[in-house]
């Protein structure tokens, strides 16, 4: 028989029971479930499938000329570069890039004030409240506020993403900073290093792996959210998706665009894995050639030693 920790078993069972009771309390009519799979199937087969890949092509005007979605004549050799999917995605990626980078530069100092191993409680608490405040409004609400103030377009989207990034990334960062070993901070404190020196020369190098992976995650998150921000006219691929899920409904095209977003997210994840391999302890190995960064560390080491032998 598998030995079971009794305490853990009871805690687990109680949590599951509690979740079930909450769910039952929330749902009044379980009859809703009836026929749901069939409805979903109909939606998929009639509305979504097959995805309409015309979003990967340029617009053809009545005179037969190819145009970009904004009306400019398509002067690219490859038609894809004039398509809605491409132009929208490029705008979204640019927005996410700018917002993530600016957000990162603001969130690092705020996070360093919020980390309880770097700042006393009277400073840490207001910094945490500020981060929580920025985070508690979803980026779509920020976008709505900025769209009211600035009108439609990428700028309100970028500002919304930036504020949300500060709040969200700041929280992840101060938690990573609190995970830094105490000893280097203490010797720094005794030596008389200033707060910014501790941050720049001790905390950031020590938590670089976490900070980098959070930064890349935030970039990916912002690209995904670019699709949502379009709903309030914040530009990018989200705007086209929004056009297609509103009347006249064109779900097949919206679905195709969502697949494009998915593919881009997967690619960003792969790139992020690659970049992070430089800062993890296992990944920091001597590599024979620049392209060998794509190899797992153990293979790279093997290749390097072979090359040394030669």
């Amino acid at each position: 028989m598998i030995p079971i920790n009794k305490k853990l078993f009871f805690i687990g069972i109680s949590l599951i029971l509690l979740a079930w009771l909450s769910l039952d309390d929330l749902v009044d009519d379980w009859g809703q479930i009836e026929g749901a799979p069939e409805k979903l199937q109909t939606f998929f087969s009639e509305d979504l499938l097959p995805p309409d890949w015309s979003v990967l092509e340029a617009e053809v005007w009545a005179d037969g000329s190819l145009h970009k979605p904004n009306g400019d004549v398509c002067d690219e050799n490859i038609e894809l570069f004039c398509s809605k999917a491409w132009t929208g995605m490029v705008v979204t990626i640019k927005m996410a890039f700018v917002a993530t980078l600016i957000g990162f530069f603001f969130s690092i100092p705020i996070a360093s004030l919020a980390a309880n191993n770097m700042a006393p409680l009277p400073i840490a608490m207001p910094a945490r409240v500020l981060l929580a405040g920025l985070r508690s409004l979803p980026s779509i609400i920020w976008a709505l506020l900025f769209a009211i103030a600035l009108g439609f377009g990428p700028l309100p989207g970028i500002l919304a993403m930036t504020l949300y990034t500060i709040g969200y990334l700041g929280k992840l960062q101060y938690e990573a900073m609190e995970g830094v070993h105490n000893a280097p901070l203490e010797s720094g404190l005794a030596m008389g290093l200033t707060h910014s020196e501790q941050l720049f020369h001790v905390v950031i190098p020590e938590s670089s792996n976490h900070l980098l992976s959070q930064l890349l995650f935030m970039f990916e998150y912002n690209v995904r959210h670019g699709a949502v921000l379009g709903l309030v006219g914040a530009g990018g691929i989200g705007m086209y998706i929004d056009n297609y899920i509103n009347p006249p409904f064109d779900y097949n095209k919206a679905f195709a665009l969502l697949i494009v977003v998915f593919v881009v997210v997967v690619i960003i994840d792969l790139i992020s894995m690659l970049i992070r391999s430089f800062v993890t302890e296992e990944g920091d190995v001597k590599r024979p050639k620049w392209w060998s960064v794509i190899l797992p560390p153990s293979m790279a080491v093997e290749m390097y030693s072979k090359k040394e032998e030669e």
Binding site: H181, A183, P184, L185, E186, S187, G188, L189, A190, M191, G192, L193, T194, S196, E197, L199, F200, H201, V202, P205, E206, S208, N209, V279, E281, D284
Partner: protein, 263 residues
């Protein structure tokens, strides 16, 4: 002929007197030109522990009355968990004493060098940037934190690394080094800082004899050069006696100085 003594001469003299007379600072204290109770004026750089009681919730060691004179080498002995590290952290200003006071007029920046038991190195940075961190404290606190060090400090960093035989691994990250090499990095970082007092917890750790000797030689040379005070926590009693000119022993909540007839 009148010769003016500079600070380092005074420190060296102080050390010689103390070594040849046992508790030599009494001799300095009672020198006719200066009043017997003006120890602070003779050694404006000393650290005074007055009625000090240390610990976290309840006192580990109480009623410590001691003066640490510039140029002293003090070894703190005692069984584990008795409060040696707590005493050192209190002197370093990392924890507040429960009662009593510590007074010194060392600069807040760079005045105290602290090597904790776990060395406190930035494991993901290179040896060079770890050592450079010590040199940085010799510039004002308004020196921009993103600026690289100037040429003189860079040379000092290189010299310290050369003295501790870590110059050839200067660009390696600290985390891949052996325990002995890491210890050398921590010592180099503190030495290049040129602090007035060096507090080293388990200074030599569990190093082999060869390593110990070369580290001791290198450290002593630089410490003598910069005239720093050295306070060590040491497990090996013989080594402590060999290294230090004062031995503090913590026994049952009390700090007792060996060879001190007042206690």
């Amino acid at each position: 002929m009148q010769k003016h003594l500079n600070k380092n001469d005074l420190l060296a003299l102080n050390r010689i007197i103390r070594r040849s007379h046992g508790d030599g600072y009494l001799v300095v204290e009672k020198s006719p030109s200066r009043g017997g109770d003006e120890v602070q004026q003779i050694d404006p750089e000393s650290v005074t522990l007055r009625g000090l009681s240390i610990g976290y919730d309840k006192p580990l060691v109480s009623d410590i009355n001691k003066t640490i004179y510039p140029g002293d080498t003090i070894a703190i002995l005692g069984s584990s968990g008795i409060g040696k590290t707590t005493l050192m952290r209190t002197i370093a200003g990392l924890i507040r004493p429960l009662s009593g006071e510590i007074s010194h007029n060392y600069p807040k920046r760079g005045g105290i060098g602290y090597i904790p038991q776990r060395l406190g190195l930035v494991r993901h940075s290179t040896v060079r940037s770890n050592v450079a961190l010590g040199a940085r404290t010799r510039r004002s606190r308004w020196y921009p934190f993103w600026f690289p060090l100037d040429k003189k400090l860079k040379d000092d960093v290189d010299n310290a690394m050369r003295a501790l035989k870590i110059l050839d691994i200067a660009d390696e990250p600290v985390r891949i080094l052996s325990g002995g090499q890491q210890r050398r990095v921590a010592i180099a970082r503190t030495l290049v800082q040129r602090p007035r007092i060096i507090l080293a917890d388990e200074f030599l750790g569990e190093l082999d004899k060869e390593n110990v000797n070369s580290i001791i030689t290198a450290t002593k040379e630089i410490v003598d050069e910069i005239g720093a005070t050295l306070v060590l926590i040491e497990h090996h009693e013989e080594r402590a006696i060999e290294l230090a000119d004062r031995i503090w022993r913590i026994i049952d909540n009390n700090l007792i100085e060996e060879g001190d007839s007042n206690q």
